[in-house]
Symmetry: C2
Subunit: 343 residues, 2 copies
Amino acid sequence: MRIELKDGAGGEAMEKIIREIISAYDFSDYGEVPLSALDDSAVVEGVAFTTDSYTVRPIFFPGGDIGRLAISGTVNDLCAIGAKPMAISTAMIVEEGFSLEDLKKIVGSMASTAKEANVAIVTGDFKVVEKGSVDKIFITASGIGKRHPLLDENLKKANCHARWLMDSNLRKGDKIIITGYVGDHGIAVMTARGEYGVESNIKSDVAPLHRVLERSLEIGGVVALKDPTRGGVAEALNEWSLKSKVGIELYEKEIPVREEVASICELLGIDPLTLGNEGKFLIAVRENYAEDVLECIRELPESKDARIIGEVTEEHNYVVLRTEVGGRRIVERPIGDPVPRIC
Amino acid sequence: MRIELKDGAGGEAMEKIIREIISAYDFSDYGEVPLSALDDSAVVEGVAFTTDSYTVRPIFFPGGDIGRLAISGTVNDLCAIGAKPMAISTAMIVEEGFSLEDLKKIVGSMASTAKEANVAIVTGDFKVVEKGSVDKIFITASGIGKRHPLLDENLKKANCHARWLMDSNLRKGDKIIITGYVGDHGIAVMTARGEYGVESNIKSDVAPLHRVLERSLEIGGVVALKDPTRGGVAEALNEWSLKSKVGIELYEKEIPVREEVASICELLGIDPLTLGNEGKFLIAVRENYAEDVLECIRELPESKDARIIGEVTEEHNYVVLRTEVGGRRIVERPIGDPVPRIC
């Protein structure tokens, strides 16, 4: 059997491969948030730990580049578990003949994004391989973080007994917030490639969201946080639904999608809910805190367009979209990815 | 300007690029062992943190494979600073069409090596890119570790005021131990490629060396530890010499090199001291503890051929080889790598 593109796309096919890989590993239940939880970060002896490889194509795209993406993604994965980022590592694999000027731009972008997120890049690696052995540059970033100082109080208000913001923490009545417009990153990267003959003015939303975590925890009642990257909102919500064993109902009319993104999606037959985002959080919050969290994060530019887009139900154990005309359709887990290599 | 292969070879050319990259980063002095120290691991708030990308070619070679290499390298980099590994992450980038069977072999190898080193793989990533965008499979492994429980007592015995086993800890009189034969990994990988028309029975030494650290610390007096991978013993000792501002004298006749490795090196004009090793430590230890450390680690199979190969002097601030015939030659930092992509 051969590995296919969809096996790395962040959807159901990928989870199958990952589950198979994990079955080979011992200690898969080791740690406070173990490997088997397949959460955004693991937690071992109080240290949150995450890693992701970035293979985005093109490496420079409207609104960002692979460097900003690597740092933002790492910060966001740490925040998603309720951790405060402590340090980041960056391992670069570069193709022989790559432009030193471009390398400096990317490194500069990593540096400025790390500064923006107030986190240090403390270690790294740099490898050069022969021409044709890698497509320009791939970056793997890892991050460590510690328990956010506001996490305990937040979870107490939520009356949640989990120690971290885990995918399995949702319960009936919780509200689902999205921190802004959906699908911008996927469309920005896709149209930058010029492959589909479609142009757009859409910019990637790529950004570190540490302040959104901070503000949310200040209010309290937050039980889960997730950055809907590969597989988009559809994948992220299905993971919540599966791991928390709850249903999630979405209000279609509340989901913020830019007009241009919506038309490109319609043209190409893509569901915007399956497009990757790199500067958005989904936040699951107890009902009585939802409006306050929303109000508070809207004060930040990176989450000014936040909305409550749904709620947790017990009526079913899948994700359902209540359409504007009153119908209902199931939001399935994407199997592959409508746009490969978005991150 | 374009990036060349030698820029990622672990020698002087690479350090130049790395220094340039780091100059862009803020906070480069952040942490107990900061980025600017360019040590094997960084240390932040008591947590040791390291990362490396593995791009070895071929991915299966005599004595090991890319999976065993990734886990061993990560364990060894943590040990090199004096940390006990807590957890590892593995991020894989795989080429579309890669064999699922080979992937399982590699994953199995990572799993068994992690078990051998008694460390859990707790998180990871899995990406698939289009055919031709990566040469089969690249793995980036990161690791976190905590202060080894025997480290304080060990450093006290050494009368060393540093908090960790750092490259800058050496002083006059310290003995240099190598834990076994030099250059096996480099030759094993090189001959496996069949590029030079040379064959050999040499196997890679790739292995996790956590027990060597443990045993050494039990005796005490150890001030620095280093795994001489890219750039080999020549690069590692030069880094010690530069960072500790001392000279190092090597006794040529004490350096263990297998006959077959020596002849291939002679044939190809390669200095065995510049060949990469993946299962060896260089240990710098205070003179009065050196023999005891040696005796103790020789009880372990992975370091049974350990030898004292040199000492720290103040006579010069470079690495000098005292040859068997009584001459002296300077051991320079390799600029590039005699065998690219050995790890």
